[in-house]
């Protein structure tokens, strides 16, 4: 056999096969063609697993689906926090447990069918009441409300009856995307039909998703007629795509991803913290937990590791959320005072040298591993014994959500909480109440305060929840807060768009305009 000839033949065949296929990659949907005029190219960190509207509280799904393909009855202004009309034009609390919504007339789905109150009732029922589907929105928003009783007295009116008086119901409803009455109630729908300004034009799984605007949308026609989504896991690659002119917008970037002068900084609603197991030594002693809190060099971490993105946190929500306690300040970094607290606990017989685990989720936020290492080092200098364990999401969730891993020992768990709803009720019930889905502590007094705050409105509500945060820190100290996080978005110079606190969860395409 002539080896040289054979090798040359194989090489030629491979080259020919590539050329013959027009250098197109399998599973790519054929060759693309750069940006057409009127096309907005967005690069996300991950492909949406589904565009199912009832999963819109999952970031990867909501960032594409919400207010683009489907729309809610009303939506929360991310800056002011006020609820604004969308598919409902008005809403009133007609009885303590009854809310009435008037729908916008003349709204159509992108397939041409009319949007009526029957669609709205089916969509709310499917999202909030359907336990078979177990939609993510259901758990996040309707977890503590009990089933809703729904009715459609006429084509443009929807009534919702709650188990107890619920001043937050309109806010909760703002999380429900409207779908057609005939959508499956037993299976989730990957490619939904909605009333939003865009519809799904094509989805080459693994590669690209294209939305296109459609004639007949009830609102103003978007400035961009097409949106192309791609996804790249690496922040540096996403940033490079914008810098290189291959994409117009890249999300979820870190400070050192290289977005250069395309970078725009914005708060992303997330707060990071260590959550303690309060019932096992040495973390069962509040002095040890206070010491850990004092040993976190928030300014140092934000400056040196986060590249200045973020602000030291004093509580589990950020400013702008109802219930935020303005009087609370981040715990001061004070190793000497922390050491004194540890020594005092030790003198009283607390086994401060007992090892506890700091558990973190890999890649949950930029520099998470380095942040935890810095904390561990500070803890060691104060006489505490911490061991770091980094886990993937699935493994970490076993420690974050009930039912917790049994006999797991003392743990300081790194958590990142985003309150997209803008109200403390969506935080304290889960994290501070004794039976909260993500709570490892709590006291009867704190539980009573959380329960009492729920039905309040306006200033009383603000004050009651602010008190809940203060009580948690003073009396329980179940958390050591790290930072109110910020993120970076890369934006091409040809695009006009201002990111806000909701951008990471809900990127409204209609807000993007070509720069004049």
């Amino acid at each position: 056999m002539n080896k040289t000839r054979t090798t040359a033949l194989i090489a030629a065949s491979a080259a020919l096969s590539v050329i013959a296929s027009g250098c197109s990659v399998a599973n790519s949907g054929g060759n693309g063609s750069g940006a057409a005029s009127g096309t907005l190219r967005i690069v996300l960190p991950q492909e949406p697993p589904t565009l199912e509207p009832c999963e819109a509280s999952l970031t990867a799904t909501g960032v594409v689906t919400r207010s683009n393909i489907t729309e809610p009855l009303l939506e929360r202004n991310p800056t002011s926090g006020a609820l604004e009309p969308k598919l409902a034009t008005e809403w009133t609390q007609t009885e303590p447990t009854l809310w009435t919504f008037k729908l916008r007339p003349g709204v159509k789905f992108s397939d041409g069918s009319e949007f009526t109150s029957e669609d709205a009732v089916k969509a709310i029922d499917r999202t909030a009441n359907n336990t078979t589907l177990a939609c993510n929105v259901q758990g996040y928003v309707f977890g503590q409300t009990g089933p809703l009783t729904l009715a459609a007295p006429d084509a443009t009116t929807v009534t919702i009856k709650t188990q107890e008086a619920d001043p937050l119901l309109p806010l909760r409803v703002s999380f429900i995307e409207m779908t057609k009455r005939d959508i499956s109630t037993t299976e989730k729908v990957r490619e939904p039909i909605g009333t939003g300004p865009f519809k799904i034009a094509s989805w080459t799984a693994g590669q690209k998703l294209t939305l296109s605007s459609w004639d007949g949308y009830w609102g103003a026609k978007p400035a961009y007629t097409t949106a192309e989504y791609q996804w790249r896991e690496e922040g540096t690659v996403r940033a490079a795509m914008v810098v290189n002119g291959e994409a117009d917008v890249a999300t979820n970037l870190g400070a050192d991803d290289g977005a250069g002068d395309t970078a725009v900084q914005y708060p992303n609603n997330e707060t990071t913290a260590l959550r303690f197991t309060n019932d096992q030594a040495p973390l069962n002693d509040i002095r040890v937990r206070q010491a850990i809190d004092m040993l976190i060099d928030r300014d140092g971490i934000i400056t040196s590791l986060f590249g200045g993105l973020g602000k030291p946190a004093s509580q589990l929500i950020g400013p702008g959320v109802i219930g935020y306690n303005e009087a609370m300040t981040p715990t001061k970094y004070d190793p000497a005072a922390a050491k004194a607290l540890v020594d005092a606990a030790k003198a009283d017989g607390v086994p401060v040298g007992t090892q506890f685990r700091i558990i973190g989720r890999t890649s949950q936020f930029p520099k998470i591993a380095e942040s935890i290492e810095l904390m561990q080092s500070a803890f060691a200098q104060a006489g505490l014994n911490a061991k770091i364990e980094m886990m993937d999401t699935s493994a970490q969730l076993k420690y974050q959500l009930r039912p917790f891993v049994p006999d797991a020992g003392p743990i300081a768990l790194m958590v990142m909480h985003g309150n997209q709803a803008g109200d403390a009720a969506f935080t304290v019930g889960q994290y501070f109440a004794t039976d909260g889905a993500q709570s490892t502590g709590g006291t009867p007094d704190l539980d009573a305060k959380i329960k009492a705050a729920a039905p309040l409105t306006d200033a009383a509500r603000q004050a009651a929840y602010a008190d809940v945060f203060k009580t948690q820190t003073d009396a329980v100290r179940g958390f050591a807060f790290l930072a109110n996080m910020e993120a970076v978005l890369a934006r091409a110079k040809t695009v006009d768009y201002t990111p806000d606190a909701a951008t990471g969860d809900e990127m409204r395409l209609a807000d993007f305009k070509p720069k004049a």
Binding site: A14, S24, A26, N27, A240, S394, L397
Partner: protein, 311 residues
């Protein structure tokens, strides 16, 4: 030859089964994925419903029987994450990986043959030293670092290639293949060089030279053929790694291949997709191993004769 192939096929089937079984069991040992797919405050009842609906409430042996019963019907299950057919997802992603692997290996082998032979002609000469240093470096450089460096230099600074993606025709192939072939080319160059030095010192090469054969003919016709079997074995191992999915390269360059699909399936505990992807790649590796054995038999008369004698 047929008996040889049959025997090799049967012995290769065992590892294939072991891989499929191992992935099935190990994946389930990581626990029930309910926490990933249900709302944060899902009730115990909802979790039980989820487990029952997906068969996670059964003993592992019962799940295994269900799985093989499904496979017998060519039903690999449904993705928990996307709701799509798992086999469809794996089959959709696999050709992209295969394209990448084939082109990468062909180019890596071509480079290794040229550079390895060149270096072997004068052991410890300048060409050998330079190629040795470069091939050692190439074999050691991490894919991740090289990919980011490649994007920075060729896409950002020079602006001659796209950063990533598959939309730019032939240009889309350059960086992923360049990054991916560096390591196989480095390793193979070392192997070809070693095998060629040994072959060029053999009596039959001396005879060929004594008969007046040109240096090119000596290398290509006599030495290379005898140096090929070890290189083929190593090339086979490297190709297996690429077929398994060039995870890092696929992730960084947005290449829609099976490596990225498998990693996502592992992270999301999407067992059906993981098993379909592993089964598909295991079968491909099984076929590749058979092909390597055939190649080995064709190149090495001792193997061919042994196979013939066994038949």
């Amino acid at each position: 030859m047929l008996t040889f192939l049959r025997r090799r096929a049967l012995t290769s089937l065992l590892p294939l089964l072991a891989v499929v079984l191992g992935v099935f069991v190990l994946a389930r040992l990581t626990g029930n994925p309910a926490a990933l797919y249900l709302p944060e405050n899902a009730t115990a009842e909802a979790r039980e419903q989820f487990s029952a609906a997906n068969g996670f409430d059964k003993p592992i042996w019962a799940q295994l029987i269900d799985y093989f019963a499904g496979v017998a019907r060519l039903d690999f299950g449904t993705s928990l994450r996307t709701g799509e057919d798992a086999a469809t997802m794996a089959l959709r992603a696999f050709p992209a990986t295969l394209q990448l692997a084939v082109v990468t290996m062909v180019l890596a082998i071509a480079v290794a043959i040229v550079v390895g032979c060149w270096a072997a002609l004068r052991p410890n000469g300048l060409a050998d030293r330079v190629s040795g240093m470069l091939s050692m470096t190439a074999a050691s450089v991490p894919d991740f670092w090289l990919a980011i460096l490649g994007i920075w230099v060729f896409a950002i600074i020079l602006g001659v290639l796209p950063t990533s993606g598959v939309d730019a025709g032939g240009a889309s192939w350059v960086l992923p293949i360049a990054v991916l072939m560096v390591r196989p080319a480095g390793v193979l160059t070392q192997v070809v060089r070693g095998a060629m030095i040994s072959a060029l010192g053999s009596p039959y090469v001396k005879v060929a030279r004594a008969k007046g054969a040109s240096e090119g003919r000596v290398v290509a016709r006599h030495a290379l053929k005898n140096a090929a079997p070890p290189a083929l074995t190593v090339a086979g191992d490297l190709a297996v790694g690429l077929i398994n999915g060039a995870v890092v390269v696929e992730s960084i360059f947005g290449w829609p291949g099976i490596g990225k699909l498998m990693i996502d399936a592992i992270l999301q505990r999407d067992f059906a997709v993981l098993q379909a992807a592993v089964a598909l790649t295991a079968i491909s590796i099984f076929v590749l191993n058979i092909a390597i054995d055939i190649g080995y038999a064709l190149l090495d008369a001792r193997v061919r004769n042994k196979a013939g004698a066994a038949a």
